[in-house]
């Protein structure tokens, strides 16, 4: 014990000495500041800051556009780079800690961003399997109904699969949909889907940057197993008011941003809404004359930024999104005897959506210490309401109503720090607390009947428990970007979470480690390990995102999901404008939750914990990613070979045997190309090919004996997900026609989703045909049927940027 303590003390002293020594070989000073767009004042996330003459080293700006770098005293040259912007070089004599705020000008020529390491993501980053998603590419990529979508773009990356064809679910390296932490400015969003998953909640015009992690997760992230989608929104133009108006087939979008006070305070407002009226006539044709149905969704983003001074900045952000379906079924019989008449009204309302409100304060303590404090409110709710009224003149009136609600509310506070003690270390640490309130289900009925002026029935019945479940989640983390020379870098980290709920305390220590070695001549290798823990589950039973999918917390019997992720990769970036990567991964998870076989999953999930089992999952695969980033033609090829299966050893799923995961698609290939003919015309195309996922179909029927002593026959399934679906593939094409107008730029977009009308399955089910006798034997036929919801789909949209 004493020897162990002595070893620990020695290690700590060596570490401290190295920190001090690194700064004492010669005098060093820190250069820090913000990198912003010269035209809008918008901070640039991930901008490269290089120094060091021939042998450049560098850092990149953080999520708020702030950087700091430690350099030797004397004549200093610093280069600032960002994709799509002209690089800037500043030379000066460094003899004290210096603040340099830099503005970059947008470039008219495409050039490669030259960054040597120290990015959060990308081929040169220490972080493995991390990618900065280019928003410009997302906007130009041809999509369903011409609606650019960040999540659908992620589905084209290696290791990422969509769920049902055409929807926004993402399954990353064999993980399920709820294992992805999708954040809006650092706040998790529980439901990212509109229209049953056809669209996501993100409006591309409001988004500044998206960073996607699917392997090695930096220690500052926690709470999910499979991936992190970190979406950062625009702060708002500090110089001038600009905006975008876009009208498409299904939705229209408006985005406006500008200064409230020049160079001090800015706003950014975005709104997207669906054109329900366009489809109203078709809906009326499909329904009774008296019936009316309407569906719409909207997203609204508002953000305000204020710069107090160079050290303090405040951000206030609000997001609200909502889907709503209304169905009114009215019946009017007309006049009866004595002028009385009978009528009824049956009204359904179903709605679901998120509300997020957050306040962020950036404070620069010194040239080496940056902090971000966030306080946030996050709410997801769903409600169903049915009102039925039936009356016969004034003699008989019956009112019936049913209400059902579920949701989650989080209140959170978080402090992050970035500390750069020297040029070899960049330390992040922080603490976070979240108070969760889960309201899985509340429902009530009221029924009132009046006959002849006398109340016959007047009752209220609360069916479901409605008991709120509360959870306290606290986390601390620390990570360090360590650079040893120019070739070797590490990112070790530790994330610790404590979760208390249902009288039970859980905690998990989650080590993280990424390492990168530059082999020279553009070659590099990386390796990583991450342990992640997840304390909430999404109970879902279908391929589509239903509003009745429920987020539930762990309980005293349902434990947190734990994931261990190992990955290794090789990379080449020696060819200008090209990047090549080959990665392999192995992931195992335990305590994953799934409904037991035969559990009634539709409707109420009272006592849901009795209907689910905990099990294990494993997935492994290889990913190839080739990108061309320069020139008039850019794009990428992504290929994934993967396998994913699961087991629930209590026997409640598939009788305790291994079975393939529903989205275990062995091969996945995406080719995405963008070509710019001129400033006026550019085209884009995607080709997607995936081998089929799995589904469960019966292979015969068997006799069964019920406990009451009767006999019956039922379908027999040898094992879960026993049928492999056929491959899916589609080609999407799009063209953008640009024209400069007096007050802005107009863009016509013509897209075709599924150009050659591949009838890919959106929904798959099995149906039994009971055939006539074949000889003496009745032979049934099971037909695997698919419903294709997204065939050949042309679209057109008009966008005006001012």
């Amino acid at each position: 014990m004493r020897l162990k303590a002595l070893h620990s003390a020695i290690l700590i002293n060596i570490f401290m000495f190295s920190l001090v020594a690194a700064g004492q070989n010669s005098r060093k000073f820190t250069v820090s500041g913000y990198v912003t767009d010269i035209e809008s004042g918008e901070s640039l996330i991930g901008a490269g800051v290089l120094s060091g003459g021939e042998a450049k080293t560098g850092v990149s700006t953080n999520e708020f556009g702030w950087y700091n770098v430690s350099l030797r005293e004397g004549r200093t040259t610093i280069e600032y780079h960002y994709v799509g912007y002209e690089p800037k070089t500043i030379a000066f004599d460094l003899n004290k800690d210096t603040v340099i705020n830099v503005t970059l000008s947008p470039s008219t020529t495409l050039s490669e961003a030259v960054v040597v390491a120290r990015n959060n993501a990308g081929i040169r980053s220490t972080n493995m399997s991390a990618l900065d998603v280019p928003i410009s590419q997302v906007i130009k990529s041809p999509t369903l109904f011409g609606e650019s979508d960040i999540i659908k773009f992620l589905q084209m990356l290696p290791g990422v699969q969509g769920g049902m064809e055409g929807t926004t679910g993402i399954h990353v390296r064999g993980g399920s949909q709820d294992e992805n932490l999708v954040m809006l400015d650092g706040i998790p969003i529980y439901n990212i889907d509109h229209v049953l998953g056809i669209f996501s909640v993100f409006t591309p015009e409001a988004v500044k940057k998206v960073t996607f992690y699917k392997g090695a997760f930096p220690a500052r992230y926690g709470g999910r197993i499979s991936s992190i989608v970190d979406v950062r929104t625009n702060d708002g133009n500090l110089k001038e008011t600009h905006g975008v108006v876009s009208v498409g087939m299904l939705t229209s979008r408006v985005h406006v941003e500008g200064p409230l006070k020049q160079d001090k305070t800015s706003f950014s407002l975005s709104f997207r809404g669906m054109h329900t009226l366009f489809y109203q006539p078709f809906i009326k044709l499909a329904m009774k004359d008296e019936a009316k149905a309407n569906f719409y969704f909207y997203d609204a983003n508002a953000k305000f930024s204020h710069k107090f001074d160079d050290r303090n900045r405040l951000y206030l952000g609000v997001y609200n999104g909502w889907d709503k379906l209304t169905v009114d079924d009215l019946y009017d019989e007309g006049s009866g005897s004595e002028g009385t008449f009978s009528k009824s009204a049956d009204k359904y309302r179903i709605g679901w959506g998120n509300t997020i409100a957050a306040m962020r304060l950036n404070h620069i303590f010194s040239s080496t210490l940056f902090s971000n404090t966030t306080v946030a409110f996050n709410n997801y709710r769903m409600s169903i309401e049915n009102k039925y009224n039936n009356s016969y003149g004034t003699q008989y009136i019956n009112d019936y109503s049913y209400k059902y609600k579920s949701g989650i509310t989080d209140g959170s506070a978080r402090m992050d720090f970035e500390w750069t003690p020297n040029s070899s270390n960049s330390v992040r640490f922080g603490v976070e607390y979240t108070f969760h309130t889960f309201k899985p289900e509340t429902s009530s009925f009221t029924n009132k009947a009046v006959e002849g002026g006398t109340v016959q029935t007047d009752s209220t019945y609360n069916e479901l428990d409605g008991r709120k479940l509360r959870g306290h989640e606290a986390s601390v983390f620390i990570e360090d970007d360590i650079f040893i020379g120019e070739r070797l870098s590490f990112n070790p980290g530790l994330h610790y979470t404590a979760f208390y709920t249902d009288g039970k305390f859980y905690n998990s220590l989650q080590p993280r480690l990424s390492a990168r070695m530059d082999l020279g001549k553009g070659y590099a290798v990386k390796a990583a390990y991450s342990r992640m823990a997840q304390y909430v589950h999404l109970l879902t039973s279908s391929d589509i995102s239903l509003p009745t999918d429920l987020w539930v917390p762990i309980t005293k019997n349902i434990k947190p999901v734990i994931g261990d992720h190992y990955s290794i990769g090789a990379y080449y970036s020696g060819l200008k404008g090209w990047e090549f990567s080959l990665e392999g991964y192995y992931k195992k998870t335990k305590n994953i939750v799934e409904y037991q076989d035969g559990a009634t999953v539709m409707g109420t999930s009272a006592n849901w914990y009795d209907k689910v089992s905990m099990g294990e999952g494993r997935s492994y695969g290889a990913e190839i990613f080739v990108q061309k980033t320069l020139g008039k033609t850019t794009g990428f090829v992504s290929y994934t070979l993967s396998k994913s299966d699961r087991i629930f050893r209590d026997g409640m799923v598939n009788n305790g045997r291994w079975y393939p995961y529903k989205y275990d698609r062995r091969h996945n290939l995406v080719v995405s190309v963008f070509h710019k003919f001129s400033d006026r015309v550019d085209v884009a195309g995607n080709f997607v090919f995936t081998t089929g996922g799995t589904t469960t179909v019966p292979t015969r029927q068997i006799v069964a004996i019920a406990p009451d002593g009767t006999s019956t026959y039922d379908d027999y399934v040898p094992y879960k997900n026993n049928y492999r679906l056929p491959c899916s593939h589609r080609l999407n094409l799009g063209v953008n026609l640009h024209k400069q107008k007096r007050h802005g730029e107009r863009i016509w977009n013509f897209s075709i989703y599924n150009v050659y009308n591949a009838m890919n399955p959106n929904l798959v089910y099995s149906d039994t045909d009971y055939n006539a006798e074949d000889g003496n034997v009745t032979t049934n036929t099971i037909r695997i049927k698919k419903i294709t919801l997204l065939p050949f789909m042309p679209s057109i949209s008009y966008t005006f940027k001012f």
Binding site: L325, I350, D610, A704, Y713, Y719, I784
Partner: protein, 325 residues
């Protein structure tokens, strides 16, 4: 109008349905052996069937159906047509089982299934009360509060049932297990059953959630005791039993009525099997997987261990006008 239908209509614009694949479900002609036995059964019944597609026939073995207990031959089953069911030929045998026994059924055609008898549950006591509704005898309720002791240090699965019992004089007669009575379970969260026909109990997708075989686990009371609170409608469950009427008419010692409260300890596989049978009544996105534990063929064999507690109704519970005279 069903909400799901609305959603489907909205998204069905441009949709198309067609067939991906066709699978002939004849399968091979296979023998199926099924048996849901209980330690307390007077006779144990095994059902044999065979068939392909949905053409099932009772199967008469050409050899012997034998029962082994802990490796020793305990009985050879004999065909008994009295117990035959639709699709099934019944074979019966007598053998005593107790907790922990390994029971193996073998069929000379090469089928076999081996199961372990679970520990019997312990009923500590049953407290009863009768709520009489003079204006509507049918809605009078006889409450049973059954206090169980969970078998410790293991996961346990149970079923709960109540059988109607009829007495002639003081003798119990006619205690076949198919006289299960309807339970009133609204006050019992472990057994709560949503009965069909009541709009209030519809789930979102117009479906009905049932637990008609009254299954439950010990997750909420592991290693402890628990009081199951259920009710029965005694008038309804006794209707038609002419023995009672007969005794009253002829002035014999009064007949009587009562119930047997049966708590059965079942294996996890049996629990899943019964759940699968119940689940097949409802629509699911995917077919329900039935556990099968017969090697060399298909089917499911199990042995439950039940504790039975008999309760005779007080005479005052049977109203004088019960017989309709």
């Amino acid at each position: 109008m069903n909400i799901l239908s609305s959603a489907v209509i909205l998204t069905a614009l441009g949709s198309c349905e067609n067939t991906i694949d066709t699978i002939k479900v004849s399968g091979e002609d296979e023998i199926m052996m099924n048996a849901l036995m209980d330690v307390n059964d007077d006779v144990h019944i095994v059902y044999l069937s065979h068939g392909q597609g949905d053409d099932f026939r009772p199967y008469a073995t050409k050899g012997e159906l034998q029962c082994y207990v802990n490796g020793q031959l305990a009985a050879t089953a004999k065909a008994k047509s009295y117990y035959d069911l639709y699709f099934c030929k019944a074979y019966v045998f007598n053998a005593g089982f107790k907790a922990g026994d390994k029971v193996k059924l073998t069929l000379e055609e090469g089928l076999s299934a081996e199961v372990t008898v679970p520990q019997s549950p312990q009923i500590l006591d049953i407290d009863t009360s009768y709520f009489e509704n003079p204006s509507n005898i049918h809605s009078s309720v006889f409450f049973l509060r059954t206090r169980l002791q969970d078998v410790p240090h293991e996961e346990n699965y149970y079923s709960f049932n109540v059988n109607a019992e009829v007495y002639k004089g003081w003798n119990l007669r006619d205690t076949t297990h198919d006289r299960r009575v309807t339970l009133f379970t609204d006050n019992e969260p472990l057994l709560k059953e949503y009965s069909s026909g009541n709009d209030d109990n519809k789930t979102f997708f117009d479906d009905y959630v049932k637990n008609k075989y009254h299954l439950f686990t010990d997750k909420s009371f592991a290693d402890n005791s628990y009081v199951l609170n259920v009710g029965i409608y005694p008038y309804d469950c006794l209707w038609g039993y002419y023995y009672i009427k007969e005794n009253y008419m002829h002035g014999y010692d009064k007949g009587g009525a009562g119930v047997s409260v049966i708590v059965s300890s079942i294996s996890p596989e049996t629990y899943r099997y019964i759940k699968a049978i119940e689940s097949s009544d409802f629509w699911h996105f995917e077919p329900v997987i039935f556990p099968q534990n017969v090697s060399g063929g298909l089917g499911f064999v199990s042995v439950a261990n039940s504790t039975v507690w008999k309760i005779r109704f007080p005479d005052r519970m049977i109203p004088k006008d019960f017989y309709g005279y």
